[in-house]
C-alpha cells in the first residue's frame, strides 16, 4: 500500500471513529439528539404501545430521536443497573418503586425537581401520582406512569355453579368458596396461590387486611404504635386463613407459582380465583379457554373488620444522572406523563391511571374496572397504604420472605416462627437506620 493510500485509510478510519463517538454521545452535527431509553417491565404489547407514543413524541420534536431498549423483564433491572453503574448509555429509564431507593442512594438517578418547577402537568396528576413522584425529601426521581393494585379476579360461572350468589368479599369468604369449587379429579382448583416468586406480597396483603384498623398508612409494615404488623396477634390468624387456602383450595404445584403460572392457571380455566394487578385484564381478554362473560373482578378482600388494605405499587419514567441530554430527556418524561400519552399508556396496559381526568372516563366505570372504582369511592373501607418498597434491603426481604413462605407451605416452619422472624427482621432494620 502506498503512503498516500495509507494516509487516506487512516483519515477515513479516524473520521469513522469520531463519527462513532458522536453517535455514542447522542448528538449530531445538525443538532439532532438521540435519547437512549430503557424499559424494565417489558412485554411485547406494552413495547408496541410505547413505540407508538415515542413516534408521536419524535413527530412533535423533530430534533430528538429516541432509541428504545427493551431487555427481557426478568433481567431488565439488572441490565439497567449495570448500565447506570457504567455511567453512560442511558438517558431516560423506567424506575420502579423498588429500584428507586437503591439507585438514588447510589446517585445514579437525576433529581428532576428543578426542571419540573412550574410544570402544568402537576395539576393534572392525581394526589397519589404526585405523592409517589416525590420522595421523603421532596426529590423527584421518577414520575409514575400508572399504579398497580390488587383486585380479585373470579370465575362468575363457577361461583354461581357452586351455589354462591356473590363473589367473596373477605378472606374467609374466599376460603369457603374456593374450597367448595376445588375438585382436583376434574383439574378444577379454587385459588391460584402464589407460593413462588413474590409470594410475600399476597401474604402481607392478608396480614394488612387483618390489622387494617391500626395500620400506619405511611408505612404499611408498621402499626400506629410503631411495632411491626407481624407482631400483631391478628397476623397469625390472617396467615392461618391464608395457608389454609393453599392446603384446601389450591393446586399442589402452586407452592412454586409466580406471576406467569398464576395468570396461566386462571387464564386456562383451571383456577377460579386470582389475586392480581389490573394489567391482567388485558391478558385475560386474550384467553381462548375462558370467555369475557365467564370472569370479572371484585374488590380486594377484607379482613374481619370489614376493611382491606391496598398496597400500592408503582413505576414511572426517570432520567439517568449520567445523561448528557437532560433537557431533552425531561421533555420526554413530561410528554409521557401528561395528556393523551399518559391516558393511552394506562388504558392499553390496564393500569390504574395517574390523571385526575380518568375519574370522568366511562372506560374505568365498566366491566373489570368497576371494582377499582368501587375501591376508590370507598377509601375508608379500602385503605391505601405505602409499603417500604424503596428500602435498600427490599430485594433481600423479598428473597428471605419468599423462601420462608415456601418453608411453611412445605411444613418446615410454623406460621408462628415465620412471624417472629419477620418481626425481628424489620425491627432490626429500622433500628439500624
Amino acid at each position: 500500500m502506498s503512503r498516500r493510500r495509507t494516509a487516506t485509510a487512516l483519515c477515513l478510519a479516524a473520521a469513522l471513529v469520531l463519527s462513532g463517538c458522536a453517535v455514542g454521545g447522542g448528538g449530531a452535527a445538525d443538532g439532532t439528539v438521540t435519547l437512549h431509553m430503557v424499559e424494565s417491565l417489558t412485554n411485547p404489547t406494552r413495547t408496541a404501545v410505547l413505540k407508538d407514543l415515542i413516534a408521536e413524541f419524535e413527530k412533535q420534536n423533530p430534533k430528538i430521536n429516541v432509541d428504545l431498549i427493551s431487555p427481557p423483564t426478568d433481567q431488565a433491572d439488572q441490565k439497567i443497573q449495570q448500565m447506570l453503574q457504567s455511567g453512560s448509555g442511558i438517558d431516560t429509564l423506567e424506575v420502579r418503586d423498588i429500584t428507586s431507593g437503591p439507585w438514588s442512594t447510589n446517585r445514579w438517578l437525576y433529581d428532576m425537581s428543578k426542571d419540573l418547577k412550574g410544570w402544568a402537568g402537576w395539576d393534572e396528576l392525581t394526589d397519589n401520582a404526585v405523592k409517589y413522584a416525590k420522595d421523603a425529601k421532596g426529590r423527584t426521581y421518577y414520575i409514575p406512569y400508572g399504579f398497580y393494585g390488587l383486585s380479585l379476579f373470579y370465575r362468575s360461572d363457577l361461583v354461581t355453579a357452586a351455589g354462591f350468589k356473590n363473589p367473596p368479599a373477605s378472606w374467609d369468604d374466599l376460603l369457603e368458596q374456593a374450597t367448595a369449587i376445588q375438585n382436583p379429579s376434574k383439574r378444577q382448583y379454587g385459588y391460584a396461590f402464589r407460593g413462588g416468586t413474590n409470594a410475600n406480597s399476597n401474604a402481607v396483603a392478608v396480614i394488612e387486611a387483618y390489622v387494617a384498623d391500626k395500620i400506619d398508612r405511611d408505612n404499611g409494615f408498621k402499626l400506629t404504635d410503631g411495632r411491626t404488623i407481624f407482631s400483631a396477634p391478628e397476623a397469625l390468624t390472617a396467615l392461618k386463613t391464608y395457608f389454609a387456602l393453599f392446603k384446601k383450595a389450591s393446586p399442589p404445584s402452586s407452592v412454586a407459582w409466580g406471576y406467569p403460572e398464576m395468570v396461566e392457571g386462571f387464564s386456562n380455566g383451571s383456577t377460579a380465583f386470582l389475586l392480581q394487578d389490573p394489567e391482567v385484564i388485558a391478558t385475560l381478554g386474550e384467553s381462548k379457554a375462558i370467555s369475557r362473560q365467564q370472569w370479572t373482578t371484585a374488590p380486594l378482600l377484607t379482613g374481619p373488620g370489614g376493611k382491606a388494605v391496598q398496597p400500592v405499587a408503582t413505576a414511572g419514567w426517570g432520567i439517568a444522572a449520567g445523561s448528557k441530554h437532560k433537557a431533552e430527556a425531561t421533555k420526554l418524561v413530561k410528554f409521557l406523563a401528561e395528556g393523551d400519552a399518559a391516558t393511552t399508556f394506562d388504558k392499553k396496559n390496564s393500569l390504574v391511571p395517574i390523571l385526575k381526568s380518568a375519574a370522568d372516563d366511562a372506560y374505568y366505570k365498566t366491566g373489570a374496572w368497576a371494582s377499582y372504582v368501587k375501591m376508590t369511592e370507598n377509601p375508608d373501607a379500602y385503605i391505601t397504604v405505602t409499603q417500604p418498597r424503596d428500602s435498600s434491603w427490599w430485594t433481600e426481604w423479598i428473597q428471605k420472605s419468599d423462601a420462608e413462605i415456601q418453608k411453611v407451605l412445605l411444613g418446615k416452619m410454623t406460621p408462628e416462627q415465620l412471624l417472629v422472624g419477620w418481626d425481628s427482621y424489620w425491627t432490626a432494620k429500622w433500628k439500624s437506620q
Binding site: T197, P251, A403, L409, K412
Partner: protein
C-alpha cells in the same frame, strides 16, 4: 501390531491393545522430538505476534477475574455502593454460617453424581450401539445428538412445563398408563423436585458422552475386535479388556470436563425451579446467581471463589487419580504420555 494412532481422541499409542499382541509391547521407544529452537530475533517475532492475543486474554479474562475476586473481600452491595470498604473474610464467614450453605453443598453433590453416572452409562451404551453398522445409523446419530444444540435454559423451560403437575405431559402420560391416580407435584415437592431436574439434565447430557465416546470408539481398529473374537473373548471381556482400556484417556477427560460443566451448570435448574422449593434444588452456582440478584456482589464473588477452589481440588484429585503408571514398575509419570505399555502376554 504396532502402536495405534492417537486419532485425536486422547487415546494413547499402544493403549488399544492391552495385552493384545506381543508386538504392541515390544515397540521400540521412539526418540523424543526436539523442540524448535528460535534465535532471539525469531523469538521476538513470535512474541510480537502473540502479544495481541496475550493482551486480549489479559484484558478480557485476567482483569475481570482479578477485579471480581477482590469484590469478595469488600462490602460490595449494589443496593448501597456508598460504602464499599474492605471487610476481609466477612463475606466468606457469612456464607459458611448461612444455614442454606449445607443444603446447597449436599444438593451440589447429588446434582453432580446423580447426573454424571447415568449420563456416562447411558451415553456409553448409546455410543456402543451407534458404532455398529446398521441402516439409518446417521439419522439415529443426528437425532441423539440434537439435544446438545439446544440451550440449557430452554431445556429447563421445556421440562418445567412437562413436569407441571396440572398441565404437564408427564403426569398426563403416567395417568393414562395407569401408573398414578392423582397428579404428582413434581417441581413443588422437595422429594421429587431434584429427581425432576436430574431427569432433565440426564436427558440433556447423555448426548455429550455419546458424542465423545463414539468418536473414541471409532478410532479402535476393527482388527482388534476380530482378533478378540477369534481368540474366543466374550462381549463383556471384550468391553472391559479392549474397549474401555483403549479409550480410557477419553473417558477420563470427558468425565473431568462434564463434572466441571455440570457443577457450573445453573441454567437448567434456574429455569425449572429457580432453586426451590425452599432451596431444595439450589446448587452452589444457582445460589450464587440468587445472591447476585439480591445485589450482594461481594458475597456472590466469595461464592464464586469457593466454586473455583472446589473445582480446583477436584481437578487435581481427578488428574492424580487417573494418571497413568509408567512402564517402569508402577512409578508414576509426570503427566507425559507413556510411549509403550507393558503387557502380560496375550489376553484374548
Amino acid at each position: 501390531m504396532g502402536a495405534l494412532p492417537d486419532a485425536g481422541t486422547g487415546l494413547r499409542p499402544g493403549a488399544g491393545g492391552r495385552g493384545h499382541t506381543s508386538t504392541a509391547t515390544s515397540a521400540p521407544t521412539a526418540p523424543r522430538p526436539r523442540r524448535p529452537v528460535f534465535t532471539s530475533r525469531q523469538g521476538l517475532t513470535v512474541a510480537a505476534f502473540m502479544a495481541p492475543a496475550a493482551l486480549f486474554v489479559a484484558v478480557f479474562i485476567y482483569y475481570p477475574m482479578t477485579a471480581g475476586s477482590q469484590m469478595a473481600f469488600r462490602n460490595w452491595n449494589l443496593n448501597d455502593l456508598t460504602d464499599t470498604s474492605w471487610v476481609g473474610l466477612q463475606n466468606f464467614r457469612e456464607i459458611f454460617t448461612d444455614p442454606v450453605f449445607g443444603t446447597v453443598l449436599s444438593n451440589t453433590g447429588i446434582w453432580v453424581v446423580g447426573s454424571i453416572v447415568p449420563q456416562f452409562v447411558i451415553g456409553f451404551a448409546l455410543a456402543l450401539w451407534l458404532r455398529r453398522r446398521f441402516r439409518f445409523r446417521g439419522l439415529y446419530q443426528a437425532m441423539i445428538f440434537f439435544p446438545w444444540a439446544i440451550s440449557g435454559f430452554l431445556i429447563g423451560i421445556l421440562f418445567r412445563w412437562m413436569f407441571n403437575s396440572e398441565f404437564g405431559v408427564v403426569n398426563d402420560l403416567l395417568e393414562k398408563a395407569g401408573l398414578i391416580s392423582e397428579p404428582i407435584p413434581w417441581l413443588a415437592d422437595p422429594k421429587t423436585a431434584m429427581v425432576a431436574v436430574l431427569i432433565a439434565n440426564i436427558w440433556y447430557g447423555v448426548t455429550f458422552f455419546a458424542i465423545m465416546i463414539l468418536a473414541a470408539l471409532q478410532s479402535i481398529p476393527d482388527e482388534i475386535y476380530e482378533a478378540a473374537e477369534i481368540d474366543g473373548a466374550g462381549k463383556v471381556r471384550t468391553l472391559f479388556q479392549i474397549t474401555i482400556p483403549s479409550i480410557r484417556g477419553t473417558l477420563s477427560l470427558t468425565v473431568l470436563l462434564r463434572v466441571i460443566w455440570i457443577f457450573n451448570f445453573p441454567d437448567l435448574i434456574f429455569a425449572m425451579t429457580g432453586g426451590g422449593p425452599s432451596n431444595e434444588t439450589h446448587i452452589v452456582t444457582t445460589w450464587m446467581i440468587t445472591v447476585t440478584q439480591q445485589g450482594d456482589y461481594g458475597r456472590a464473588s466469595a461464592i464464586g471463589l469457593i466454586v473455583v477452589a472446589m473445582l480446583l481440588v477436584f481437578s487435581v484429585f481427578h488428574l492424580t487419580a487417573t494418571r497413568e503408571k509408567s512402564t517402569t514398575g508402577g512409578k508414576r509419570t509426570t503427566g507425559r504420555m507413556p510411549r509403550t505399555r507393558r503387557t502380560k502376554g496375550t489376553v484374548l
